[in-house]
């Protein structure tokens, strides 16, 4: 008891010396510098996607034929086109901002679609068990057995391309992993008792799954969604790079690299700026995802 009563008295003395430093240390232990940088980058990307038009020097489709293939600042260019221009004299920075917006939007919507799809099918499998579960697991296995890139190419070949269809198609990426996780967690939840206890109260399946199981497994699902997000960006940019994803006049990060590659010799900046944006964005989201996983859910491998 004497220890606890004496502690407050001595605390202010030591606090004046040590508190500022230890607070700083505690802050960086909770928020590693690398994670802060990653978060800052993602925040910058989101701000650019939302308000980029205010920063963009020009309209991303506007051509300036007198200033074709102008180099960026630092390679002999001027501030009229900070990142240079492309083969049609379009401002690379403005196109980059437009590309970031469309790539992030597609990745976000697609991740949402795949989460909804995966969670629904995972829950259906966990709820019905038996034959329905076997059928869903068979779909999961078949999807996992086939590289998604190939499926996507085949669908695009057969059904044609539009931005809506393309976004939806990206939404089919990764659903099988989320379904597997959701099913496993839901089955575990049922065995844990709170879910079956809720059922014993007379709760409908909607209520058991929506109000009890979903909030309990949300953090794990959130982590796997975060890890899905950069993969969707890579997939989308890969297809757009091949000219089979986002179609002109719209642009995306991958499409910019794809069209810039013809000028790799004369104007490498067209392709380097979007490449750097892809790599940094996926890297940052992966880092954040790993960090979230360590914090929220150490059991997820």
């Amino acid at each position: 008891m004497t220890e606890t009563s004496s502690a407050p008295a001595s605390a202010p003395v030591s606090a004046s010396v040590f508190t500022p430093k230890s607070r700083v240390r505690a802050f960086f232990e909770a928020w590693p510098p690398l994670i802060l940088l990653a978060l800052a980058w993602i925040a910058a990307m989101l701000l650019l996607a939302a308000f980029g038009d205010l920063v963009a020097p020009a309209d991303y489709m506007a051509m300036d034929l007198r200033a074709r293939l102008a180099p960026p600042v630092g390679m002999g260019g001027d501030w009229a086109h900070p990142l240079g221009t492309d083969e049609l004299g379009r401002d690379v920075l403005s196109r980059l901002i437009a590309s970031i917006r469309i790539s992030l939007t597609i990745a976000f919507l697609a991740t949402l679609v795949s989460a909804v799809l995966g969670v629904s099918l995972g829950f259906l499998a966990a709820y019905f068990r038996g034959k329905a579960e076997q059928a869903i697991l068979m779909l999961v296995d078949a999807q996992a057995a086939m590289p998604f890139m190939i499926i996507a190419l085949a669908v695009l070949a057969f059904l044609g391309n539009s931005l809506t269809l393309f976004t939806l198609l990206m939404g089919f990426y990764g659903w099988e992993r989320i379904a597997r996780i959701a099913r496993g967690l839901a089955i575990a939840a049922q065995e844990q008792g709170y879910a079956s206890a809720a059922r014993d109260l007379g709760a409908s399946p909607w209520r058991v799954y929506g109000r009890h199981i979903l909030p309990n497994i949300a953090s794990t699902l959130l982590v796997s969604m975060t890890l899905n997000f950069p993969e969707v960006i890579l997939l989308e940019s890969g297809l757009s790079f091949l000219g089979l994803g986002v179609q002109p006049p719209e642009t995306s990060l991958g499409a910019m690299v794809g069209y810039g590659r013809d000028y790799i010799q004369s104007a490498p900046w067209i392709m380097l700026a979007p490449s750097a944006a892809i790599v940094l964005t996926t890297l940052c989201i992966s880092l954040i995802g790993d960090w979230l996983r360590d914090i929220l859910d150490p059991t997820l491998s």
Binding site: Q192, G193, Y194, A197, A198, R199, D200, L201, G202, A203, S204, R207, H212, P215, N216
Partner: protein
Amino acid sequence: MSPDLASSEPLLTARGLARHYGVRLPGGLMGRRATLKAVDGIDFDLARGEILGLVGESGCGKSTTAKLVLGHVAPSAGEVRFDGAPVPVDHGGDWRRLRRRMQMIYQDPLGALDRRLPIAAQIAEPLQIHRPDLSRADRGARAAELMRAVGLRPDQAARYPHELSGGQRQRVVIARALALDPELLVCDEPVSALDVSVQAQVLNLLEDLRARTGFAALFISHDLKVVRQMADRVAVMYLGRIVEEGSPEEVLHRPLHPYTQALVSAAPSPHAGRRRARIVLRGDPPNPVEAPAGCSFHPRCPVAVARCRTERPPLLREGRRAVACHLAQAAGGGFAPAPLPSAAVSGAAA
């Protein structure tokens, strides 16, 4: 305390109730198929307001009986009737509506609670499900009233399950189960996960609440002492069957079946001076997959005779007692193969 004698119709009846599971004995694909008889043909009645204790070792079919009563699993044979109607087993709309009238209390209260919801929300959840007519304020008031009734403080309403002690959590589960004034509570080992000091508090609370609200209960425990405090009538189960039944005092002080005698002798007695000689059971604990022929207790029975190995003793009744043992029936004399006298049963609480 006294059960509702005005209605002679029992609240719950089980007739020929059985639950068998197909299992495969070890040996991969070549393994032999076998049947696990978790519950193997039991009959009992439960009057309104009565508490029937179900005792036995783990694996004797107590918990399966609870699941059958609640309609969690379908019986392989026989049926359960609640208030005259068969209990549905499909988890559909009728099954869910019946939860207004029958609720359950679990062995592990922490597992049975949602760790993401404050306890007041969980106590009010049955009202939210079954009484959409109540306003939010009414539900809150009712939850507060329930918390008071089970001895939780109003300031604990916003707490989460992990912030409470084991006994407090079980109080939350009890409050939630009683939110809709159910007629039947199924309590599956409700205090066996709690500290001994807390056990008594929770049992006293249950007795209290029962006196106030008059619910009937199927009270499952391996602990004879607990059952004696709570139950009006005790049934002893062995390998999926009821082997003895009677008032707690009779069953505990004058056990007829050799298995009950062994159980009673193994239980710590409150009267140290009157300690009986302890009967140690021979042989392995029973395996419900390969139940022996004849009386299923005979391999471990200290007094078994030749007849026990070949002929299964029926559960015979004499008044409020019933026993399934050739020797006890021969000695007691009066046991007769009679149908369940459900009216006679309800006098047990006196």
